[in-house]
Symmetry: C2
């Protein structure tokens, strides 16, 4: 299709293509969520086989990333999208980079869970980490929901959730350090659980990134580097606009 | 400029724009290198002020990321690039994402260095970490060189360097665990140095990513998920081609 033939026909085809690609992103996101769930279940149940499986299936996520990347390039080259459409494609490309890295972190959690499974398991110990795991899993789900529904207010909430996850992470850290100082024999094991916590904290960061892309995709406003206060006031101004019935979305 | 007016004029303007954007990427890369150097010096010298400075200047890197992102979108929208040109732009967008995250990790190292600076400093202790720091700094420089000169063989070498950095990282980990078990009072401090090591290891990963984008940019081959063996055989096939005088670069 040549650039000259822009028009309603072009626009419908583009919309179809972008919706198909967005569906692929959500499919990839579903895989990533599944991997994360498995990794956390492997940790909770002490199931080393399940933990190892997470690592085995990471390639499917990677394949999706390459596929969607190519899809996006093809769309740009063939369709020569408008600024708004281009913004959507750009945000898809960024979103799948973060999804792929969530998959990488889930893989690390799976491998650590497999390693921890064959060691002595303090029944209560992983409760805190599982709680952190639930928090960041919810963040990933919210990010994918926000992406699917182009929902800015859900996307903006993730940033607040990330703050809570960071606090939980700090608390896990402090407890781990106390535990190690009380019982130095526990050090190797506790260190592995701290790595799990670190990976989960990163997953939260990636979910937050995806939320930021959604805001940019919908509003064209880049909120990546404006800090939490900036985000809060932006969220408030959006709410204000909505109330006044002047929302431009 | 309209899509209809493609031609030599278009092509020269596009080349100029892409070279200008590539220069900005290298400028951003220079800032990132400087931040990493400062963070490592803060650690080596126990200079808490310098460590804090790294965090203060992170915003400059973030500004570059936003600026270059916008530049790239504008180029695509205005110039409607060919598949090859588009590939270059895509790889610029991916490269700056990894550069920005190297900046984030350097910031974390700076803050940890500032925290460690006010504690008791075991003179020999940070030697290993500094060694790891030198390794990953070299990887970042190589990645930027490879990007600047579109140099595939340098880019491919980074993957091998990353393997060495991973080994060094594992060795730092093991030593840290031994140290903590021998002297539990050292735990909080050692944990902070392990976080430094973790950040450095991540920086190595990001440098490796940038190397992979260079290969894709030049050869159109996506080597992100083919593993080290796949990369080695790809490097060999490139060397073979070069020997036979059939290299297509």
């Amino acid at each position: 299709m040549e650039p000259q033939s822009l028009g309603p026909h072009y626009s419908r085809q583009f919309d179809e293509e972008i919706e198909r690609t967005r569906a692929q992103v959500l499919e990839m996101g579903g895989l990533v969520e599944e991997q994360l769930r498995r990794a956390l279940r492997a940790l909770a149940k002490g199931d080393s086989e399940l933990g190892d499986q997470v690592a085995q299936y990471d390639y499917r996520i990677n394949q999706f990333e390459v596929l969607i990347d190519e899809e996006c390039s093809r769309m740009i080259a063939r369709r020569q999208p408008t600024a708004g459409d281009l913004r959507q494609i750009m945000m898809i490309i960024k979103t799948i980079t973060d999804l792929e890295r969530i998959g990488d972190e889930a893989e690390k959690v799976g491998l650590l869970a497999a390693k921890l499974a064959v060691q002595e398991r303090p029944a209560s110990r992983y409760r805190e980490i599982r709680h952190l795991g639930d928090q960041v899993s919810d963040m990933v789900s919210s990010a994918l929901d926000a992406f699917a529904r182009r929902d800015v207010s859900t996307a903006m909430e993730i940033s607040q959730e990330d703050k809570k996850a960071d606090e939980e992470y700090e608390s896990v850290m402090r407890q781990g350090i106390t535990l190690m100082m009380e019982d130095p024999r526990s050090i190797p094991r506790v260190i592995d659980t701290l790595w799990v916590a670190k990976s989960l904290e990163r997953i939260g960061d990636h979910a937050k990134n995806i939320g930021e892309y959604v805001v940019y995709m919908v509003h064209g406003k880049d909120i990546r580097h404006i800090g939490r206060d900036g985000k809060r006031s932006y969220a408030e101004s959006l709410a204000q606009e909505a109330e006044e019935g002047q929302q431009t979305v």
